[in-house]
């Protein structure tokens, strides 16, 4: 084999680079997502399983529909009518009012950085009050 040493060294360096994410993250697993579901509202606009897998497609449809064709209301699977609005519906006070306790949980865990929040303003979250301050 010509230049055998160089080739083997090259393969080793290549493998190290390729597997970088694996050994870089070793032993530093991110904490499991702790998603807080709304207390008041029992049902979402689609069944939970669907939302889990396809919420991004749903939001994509919502935004295209409102922005491009001015259709702003949505008949949910349970027949209820909702306004198609990320801020006013999804993140209303009764639903996912806290971005950090809902959206961010999974997105941070999976390393997904959606650019929704570059423009849309999530509801203000007061820092959680400690029990002693309640009195």
């Amino acid at each position: 084999m010509y230049d055998g040493g160089k080739i083997i060294a090259g393969i080793i360096i290549g493998l190290l680079l390729l597997t970088f994410p694996i050994w870089y993250g070793l032993g530093r697993a991110a904490p499991k997502p702790d998603v807080k579901v709304p207390v008041k509202e029992k049902e979402c606009v689609e069944p939970k399983a669907y939302m889990k897998n396809y919420h991004m497609q749903l939001l994509d449809l919502w935004r295209d529909s409102t922005v491009r064709v001015a259709k702003r209301s949505f008949i949910a699977f349970n027949g209820k009518k909702y306004e198609m609005s990320l801020q006013k519906t999804c993140m209303s006070a009764d639903c996912h009012a806290r971005k950090t306790e809902f959206c961010d949980q999974c997105h941070n865990y999976t390393g997904v950085v959606p650019y929704c929040w570059d423009c849309h303003i999530p509801p203000k979250e007061e820092p959680k009050r400690k029990p002693e301050e309640k009195h």
Binding site: V67, R68, I121
Partner: protein, 298 residues
């Protein structure tokens, strides 16, 4: 039998129609071209969405203001600096248009201009001094034949078929700025820098002395083009555009005719049409054939 042959045929025929291209598109509220765009695009609607799309996604009935073709009349004689400034402020506040000091990076949806700049070529040395000093309000003309929409490579800017408003889809804009070159009215602004700080710890510090954005309307990210949207989001809630509302209040207070009037150009009884009948009106650069929907009473 509840369903006789005739009825069966009727229903069948209706269903065929209903699932044909145009009626189906109408039922969904998207125009045939949009429907076709999406079909041809193939990628635009993921497979998983198709079942969702069959659900009626209707507008909030009875609430929204609708028209066949929205238009605005600017009565310049009823304007003054104060009203013009109030219009600009109201618009920029409800739409989170940032205040940027560097004029090169400026973003404006509606602003004051002098006569000679609004109607270049119309000025001459003997033009009425009063006219020269009047604060003309300029904004996107929502052209009937918009050059900006013609050039956009992604349909990020488009004319809404149902009411003629020229809109921006900030989610889709790639920031090529072709529309800015195409617009003959300089109505478009580009986000050269990050216009608002992102939500986070730094927020408080950076907003010191400046009003933070209102949560009712999204802000923008860097690298997209924006412009006046005839308050499409307010029309959906049954409100007239912010600038029109503010100017009419102020004009009422000052005992003048309304300076800005908004209405349906296709409706012969609308306020806009009445004004067009009563007054001689001009539009900006009519020779370019873009057919602006903003008229000026001078």
């Amino acid at each position: 039998m509840a369903v006789n042959r005739r009825k069966f045929l009727k229903i069948g025929g209706a269903s065929i129609l209903a699932f044909g291209a145009k009626p189906a598109a109408d039922a969904l509220g998207i125009s045939p071209t949009e429907w076709l765009d999406e079909k041809l695009g193939g990628f635009t609607i993921p497979e998983t969405l198709l079942h969702l799309f069959r659900k009626p996604a209707g507008s909030v009935a009875g609430e929204a203001l609708t028209a066949k073709r929205w238009a605005m009349v600017v009565n310049v004689r009823a304007l003054d600096e104060e009203i013009a400034e109030a219009c600009k402020e109201a618009c920029h506040r409800v739409h989170n248009v940032p205040e940027i000091d560097n004029p090169k990076h400026e973003i404006k949806w509606i602003w004051q201009e002098e006569y000679e700049h609004v109607f270049p070529g119309q000025q001459h040395e003997h033009v009425d001094e009063a006219l020269k000093k009047l604060p003309f309000l300029v904004m996107c003309n929502h052209c009937f034949n918009p050059p900006c929409c013609r050039v956009c490579p992604t349909k990020a800017t488009f004319k809404r078929k149902k009411d003629g408003i020229v809109l921006m889809d900030m989610h889709r804009c790639i920031g090529c700025r072709f529309c800015m070159a195409a617009c003959p009215f300089g109505a478009r602004s580009f986000n050269w820098i990050i216009p608002w700080p992102r939500a986070g710890a730094e927020e408080e510090r950076r907003f010191k002395g400046k009003e933070p954005p209102t949560p009712d309307y999204p802000t923008r990210a860097k690298g997209v083009v924006e412009k006046c949207n005839f308050c499409a989001e307010r029309l959906a809630k049954g409100q007239i555009p912010a600038c029109v509302e503010v100017s009419q209040e102020l004009c009422k207070k000052k005992g003048r005719e309304p300076a800005l009037v908004f209405g349906d150009l296709e409706d012969p009884d609308s306020e806009v049409r009445q004004l067009l009948r009563l007054h001689y009106t001009i539009r900006r650069k009519p020779e370019l054939g873009s057919h602006p929907n903003v008229y000026y009473i001078v």
